[in-house]
Point group: C2
Chain length 362, copies 2
């Protein structure tokens, strides 16, 4: 397959940019003595998980048990960074724990009990990180005191091993130079939680945190022992417009074809919500549905399922019918999740790259 024959819309991933992104993060983590545990939700690819391990990651993080099962084929040390408490999930995790190091981030005694029961049933041990909410307000126990109460439940639950704390600073979305203040609050909460553990003689071997927007400021949170960035492998317009990476760092792009120019001032491409998703750009919600590389003055104003409507009134020359254009999506993770395979571009020749862990039921 050569580039110009690719059927569109095509998700094309540039291997050189991926490798640069992986190295940069691995180097940063190494410099600061942080373990790197990339979140594989972004790529869901066995090959890319292995590439992350090869480039210096100590383990991988996943959101789903199905993803854990796929990544277990190439990694012995997995964190399920997701509150897991129902039987279809806990039983499968316990099976994985027979041969792999399996840790789960939880925020309820119910999860501890369910995971403990599954671990005992399979005669395995699972590591637990207590998730502490540090301000995002999604999951995680609400206070340092609540974190310790849950840690005590874990200590009392046979089959579980208390390994430490986990947090996700998803609310810290300022430009890097303005992140010191909110990260000080994250630090204060982790410090308060760890102080209680110390009082009780408990140890947090792992304190897992981080996101792609905050990744390169992780050294401002001295409690962290590991970070879990996900999007950094590809980057996207959320990351670029947030000021955390540049357009050149965007490794995964959609190649689309101009299919209509019948409406004045507009062209239509064959990438709609079933390719780009409806995710707005978080730092710039009115910037349209992605960035058109060849036509930076164009705005992708509206998506329907298979159509992307582009306002070209500010373009010097209009895109032609049949022309191929390149879109950097607002949010790459759900775009990858829509594809059975991406195209992996190395030495100019695209090869299919299976998205192994997409479409998993749980």
């Amino acid at each position: 397959m050569i580039m110009k024959d690719l059927p569109t819309p095509a998700l094309v991933i540039d291997s050189a940019v991926v490798d640069r992104n992986l190295s940069r993060m691995a180097n940063y983590a190494r410099q600061h003595g942080l373990a790197l545990r990339p979140h594989t939700k972004t790529h869901k690819s066995r090959k890319l998980g292995a590439r992350q391990i090869h480039s210096g990651a100590q383990g991988l993080a996943v959101a789903k048990v199905g993803e854990a099962e796929v990544m277990a084929e190439i990694c012995d040390d997995l964190l399920i960074a997701y509150p897991t408490l129902d039987a279809p999930r806990t039983s499968r995790l316990a099976r994985l724990a027979a041969t792999k190091t399996i840790r789960v981030g939880i925020d309820s005694p119910e999860a501890a009990q369910a995971l403990g029961a599954a671990a005992r049933g399979a005669d395995v041990a699972m590591g637990i990180l207590v998730e502490l909410d540090v301000g995002f307000g999604r999951t995680g126990v609400a206070s340092p005191e609540a974190a310790w109460r849950l840690a005590e439940v874990v200590l009392q639950t046979k089959g579980l091993r208390l390994d430490g704390l986990m947090c996700y600073p998803g609310h810290v979305a300022q430009p890097s130079e303005a992140q010191a203040a909110p990260l000080r609050e994250v630090t204060a909460r982790l410090e308060a939680a760890l102080a209680i553990w110390k009082q009780h003689g408990a140890q947090a071997t792992i304190v897992s945190g981080g996101s792609t927007p905050t990744a390169f400021q992780s050294h401002l949170v001295p409690q962290y022992t590991e970070i879990r960035p996900g999007t950094y492998i590809f980057n996207d317009m959320n990351i670029v417009r947030g000021g955390w990476a540049s357009l050149e760092d965007c490794a995964a792009r959609i190649i689309a074809t101009v299919v209509s120019n019948a409406v004045i001032g507009q062209v239509v491409i064959d990438a709609g919500t079933k390719t780009l998703t409806s995710d707005r750009c978080a730092p710039a919600p009115d910037s349209g549905h992605g960035y058109l590389v060849e036509y930076p003055d164009a705005v992708i104003t509206k998506l329907t399922e298979e159509h992307g409507q582009i306002d070209i009134r500010n373009c010097n020359r209009p895109p032609k019918l049949g022309e191929r254009v390149t879109v950097i999506p607002n949010h790459i993770c759900p775009c990858v999740n829509l594809q059975d395979a991406a195209w992996w571009l190395e030495d100019g020749t695209p090869e299919p790259l299976p998205i192994n862990a997409r479409g998993k039921l749980s």
Copy 2:
């Protein structure tokens, strides 16, 4: 598999509701002398395409060539309701046209030339519907005069057969009782286009229109010979809140598990944007990310990839950790497209239903 053991998030489709939805539309079309050509983008399932044919549809509509290839296995008469002009698509369509009736809706001379060349190359004929924009402003030539100019190109292009007109009244989104006025405008445009065809002695055997919101008012557009509703097979909150169907008509629902209640006033379910998508409800953009059947006073306020955050402050009793809840999505079509398989529920036993035509590159 029994319902309570389904891994979640699970897309469950109720066969009885599907059959009722299919019958209702087929009966309406029959009563009004309209051919029914359901758009398969909603279900992407061979089994459900066949069920539509069996219940009275004359043919099927698709958006992608990959979908056409799948549906050709169960249907001899396909409309690609999508402007198709690039070589990867036109060559595959020409191959299909060797054994099937293939029609394409187009809005440019470039598409006519590309399809004609592919048809001649494969020694087949393809039918063409000229797409006329009737107010949605997405695709379709801008005026009745432009429709005739494109029809002339088609007539002059060997390999193509001019079959008629196509339109998509996607902008007509009022409650049914208020649709008469905008549908009169659709009628006026089609009438003006057909008058020019008649002047030139050309015939439009097919005038294809319709959408789920306007489906049951299609008799107000006397030019229509066929309608192409898609969503009606399942319905969703777009259709319910638009007033075009009721909650009981929603055949496809997401079963999700409550995985966290750590944040006060909130629970989190395991259905985020990778299950429900970020599509807002078009008639009620502030109504949240879907309807929670068991907790109608709850609001799904925020989605991230695998988390759905639900405000439960108005609920009489809070959903419990581990409890399973039912979500009717805002827009069912892209949700189905995220699944490799749904669960088909007939006689109380869920069976896997492959979503055969999802994940197609073009």
